[in-house]
């Protein structure tokens, strides 16, 4: 009673599918993909597009930012469409918003956390409640000070460096929604910059990417970022230079 060849291949494919979210072995009908594979592709593509256009929801702003009395600012982009079409606008916030931040946040801390919607506001809403408490508690256990997180609408990675520089923090952590892909629209990244400021360039940042339930679980990522913060403060360097020391 041996397995038939097709049974065997189905089991083999199943074990490969378990190892990757990629669309492998979907089969074909004539020259086209089977209907279910095509529909799944369309569905995932639509979810990715929705994620790009998603805004931080009112309920999230209320339950997270307002409840914790966190400052909410905006990048130089005027709305979501402006942000998507003009990426450089997402890297900076206005002087007025910086003044507001200075007023509401303690300065001179070890760590400043900045939370940006980036290219997927959904990613922030999905993962933040899991990651942030781990991160904040972990920093406390390690005796590392951190001020009040800042929430930014239409923000991109560099904006955390500007804000953290304005607050005189030693290290900026930017939690940002990743550009959605076809396997996940809710991936979040964390960018860490030591001594952030106008001089900061991309290679100065250490990044942890693919934070979501099917990638690095956000709760685990939180604990890992604490470890990275400790290492960076210890070595006084981040990004590519940090990798060279390890």
């Amino acid at each position: 009673m041996n397995r038939s060849r097709s049974e065997k291949e189905a089991q083999q494919l199943a074990s490969m599918n378990n190892a990757t979210p990629a669309r492998i072995g979907v089969g074909r009908v004539g020259t086209r993909p089977p209907t279910n594979a095509w529909l799944r592709f369309r569905h995932d593509h639509a979810a990715a597009r929705d994620a790009v256009h998603s805004e931080l929801s009112e309920s999230f702003i209320d339950q997270f930012a307002h409840a914790n009395k966190l400052p909410i600012v905006q990048s130089l982009a005027t709305d979501r469409a402006d942000f998507v079409l003009n990426p450089p606008k997402g890297k900076k916030t206005s002087e007025a918003d910086l003044a507001k931040i200075r007023q509401q946040c303690p300065s001179g801390q070890d760590v400043q956390i900045v939370i940006c919607d980036g290219l997927s506001a959904l990613a922030i809403e999905t993962n933040l409640n899991e990651l942030l408490p781990m991160l904040e508690e972990g920093l406390k256990i390690e005796g590392i000070t951190s001020g009040k997180p800042v929430v930014v609408r239409y923000g991109r990675v560099a904006i955390a460096d500007q804000i953290s520089h304005a607050l005189g923090a030693k290290l900026a952590i930017n939690l940002v929604g990743e550009r959605p892909g076809l396997s996940s629209g809710v991936g979040m990244s964390a960018y860490l910059t030591y001594k952030p400021g106008p001089q900061t360039i991309s290679s100065d940042r250490t990044v942890v990417s693919n934070i979501h339930d099917r990638g690095t679980p956000p709760v685990e990522a939180g604990a890992y970022i604490v470890h990275l913060v400790k290492t960076i403060l210890d070595k006084k360097v981040s990004g590519v230079e940090l990798q060279k020391t390890l």
Partner: protein, 502 residues
């Protein structure tokens, strides 16, 4: 810490030793295991073993024995020491590995003592004796059966026939399905070079009674010159026992006390049978002979002074009669030792722990926290505490004297709120049982760093080690090594009950 994909890390290899002290032969291999970071540069590093290269193989020696049949530990140690010299490797060079002692009860009387005698050779972190279940797994890994099942999608049954035992492991799609072990091997009878019976094992005596006409064993006592036909018919019986056991369901009649562990389930139709072990080495020779017969001129069946050639011939014939799809492993006699040297160690996922100064820890008993009795979503400290108390009572070690490793199993990756509850409940339960520090936990999900941080927060101290990424589907004890790579990966070797004979 963050290397690009596929690039080996700075401390990019481990040196591993496998030592196999069997009923008939003993030998060792040294392997170099290269470490590779499998994660991309922007993700949490995940160190895995990339290449496994056998860098030195010793000759195969007859296992030195004392006059009472037990293993002569001093002479084994001497042999092994000379191999270290030959290979220009010192015990300090060894990072991991395993020593495996197999054989009949009589041989194993002094196994612990033998281990002690070679302990100075095995470095800081070498698991002592794996136990029959893990031996089956290691021989199936060392033979290449596991890898082939992964590459071909086949279900493969690896049968490692040695001098004293037959270790069986079934693999499908690169995963272990089940293991079993029979106390049947090629050294059940021993002969002088001219074919006079000199000794027989417990199984040998039993086999002798199975042939009609020799029921009184008169023809099979030491000193007898047993006709080859009688020996062949005994070998056919032994081969039938092995092949029936691996091929047919519900074959346990006549095998009482011969099965170590449990019988195979036979729920997984086998695509291919692989043979390894010393007897498979002889099978390979015989397969080149007409009828796989020992009567060929080129073969001296008493060359190794035992029953191996007879058993090998009978198995070859049996396999062909049954038309079983089969193959002989590439390096049959070394399958177990290669498994022990190259496949006994596992690497943990990235972990952050302050308690690594306590490492290495050897022979840490595993407690499988049975979460079917404990609500995963609402763990109660009292329930966990009672469970731990009972589990510890089953060990001869006192909780306060030696660390235990507590295994947690979650069906899905636990959320922050769940992990927090678990951390708090576990902290209370461990304190109530006055467990020895460091507390050790192993989780099946990617949660080690998170649980570690939460536990430290609860305990207000750092003496806690949490590991993930370790397969503990089998095993009773673990050895936990010193961190490797950049310090966030811990090597772990799993062992089953040492010298269990039932």
């Amino acid at each position: 810490m963050q290397q690009s994909k596929g690039v080996t890390s700075k401390n990019n290899s481990l040196t591993s030793v496998g030592i196999d002290i069997g009923t008939t032969s003993c030998h060792l291999v040294f392997s170099r295991l290269s470490l590779v970071n499998e994660a991309s540069a922007t993700q949490i590093p995940r160190l895995v073993i990339g290449e496994r290269e056998v860098v030195y193989e010793s000759p195969i020696y007859f296992t030195p024995l004392n006059s009472d049949g037990s293993i002569d530990g001093a002479r084994v140690a001497e042999l092994m020491r000379s191999e270290y010299l030959q290979a220009r490797i010192t015990p300090d060079d060894i990072n991991c590995g395993a020593v495996i002692i197999t054989g009949e009860t009589a041989r194993l009387r002094n196994a612990e003592e033998v281990l002690h005698q070679i302990s100075s050779l095995s470095g800081d972190f070498v698991a002592a004796s794996a136990g029959p279940e893990l031996e089956s797994i290691l021989s199936g890994r060392g033979s290449g059966a596991l890898q082939h099942s992964k590459e071909s999608g086949q279900t493969i049954c690896n049968i490692d026939i040695g001098g004293g035992t037959t270790n069986i492991a079934v693999f499908q799609n690169g995963a272990l399905i089940e293991t079993s072990c029979l106390r049947i091997g090629g050294r059940c009878f021993q002969f002088s070079s001219d074919g006079v019976l000199t000794d027989r094992s417990e199984y040998g005596s039993r086999l002798a009674r199975s042939v009609p006409g020799t029921g009184n064993e008169s023809g099979l006592t030491p000193g007898a010159n047993v006709p080859r036909e009688v020996l062949m018919s005994l070998a056919n019986n032994a081969a039938k026992q092995i092949l029936d056991f691996v091929c047919l369901p519900n074959i346990v009649d006549g095998l009482d006390n011969l099965i170590l562990g449990i019988a195979l389930s036979h729920e997984f139709p086998i695509d291919e049978y692989w043979f390894s072990g010393g007897v498979a080495e002889l099978m390979r020779t015989l397969l080149a002979e007409p009828g796989c017969s020992i009567d060929a001129n080129s073969i001296d069946p008493f060359l190794y002074g035992d029953f191996g050639y007879f058993l090998a011939s009978a198995i070859c014939v049996g396999v062909k009669q049954r038309a079983l799809p089969f193959r002989i492993a590439q390096n049959p006699i070394r399958a177990t030792v290669v498994g022990a040297g190259s496949y006994s160690v596992q690497l943990s996922g990235n972990t952050v722990s302050a308690a690594t100064s306590n490492l290495p820890l050897k022979g840490v008993p595993l407690i499988r926290l049975n979460q079917t009795f404990i609500d995963v979503n609402d763990p109660q400290p009292e329930e966990i505490s009672n469970y731990l108390t009972k589990a510890i009572a089953g060990h001869d070690k006192k909780a306060s004297e030696k660390s235990f490793a507590i295994i947690l199993h979650f069906d899905n990756s636990p959320r922050y709120a769940d992990l927090r509850k678990w951390a708090s409940a576990l902290a209370i339960a461990c304190k109530q049982n006055t467990l020895c520090l460091p507390y050790i936990f192993i989780v099946n999900t990617d949660s080690a760093m998170a649980l570690g941080q939460l536990m430290r927060g609860q305990l207000k101290h750092d003496s806690v080690i949490v590991l993930d990424g370790i397969d503990l589907s089998t095993g009773d004890f673990i050895d936990i090594g010193k961190p490797i790579g950049t310090g966030s990966t811990i090597p772990v070797t799993v062992k089953s009950l040492i010298f269990s004979n039932d």
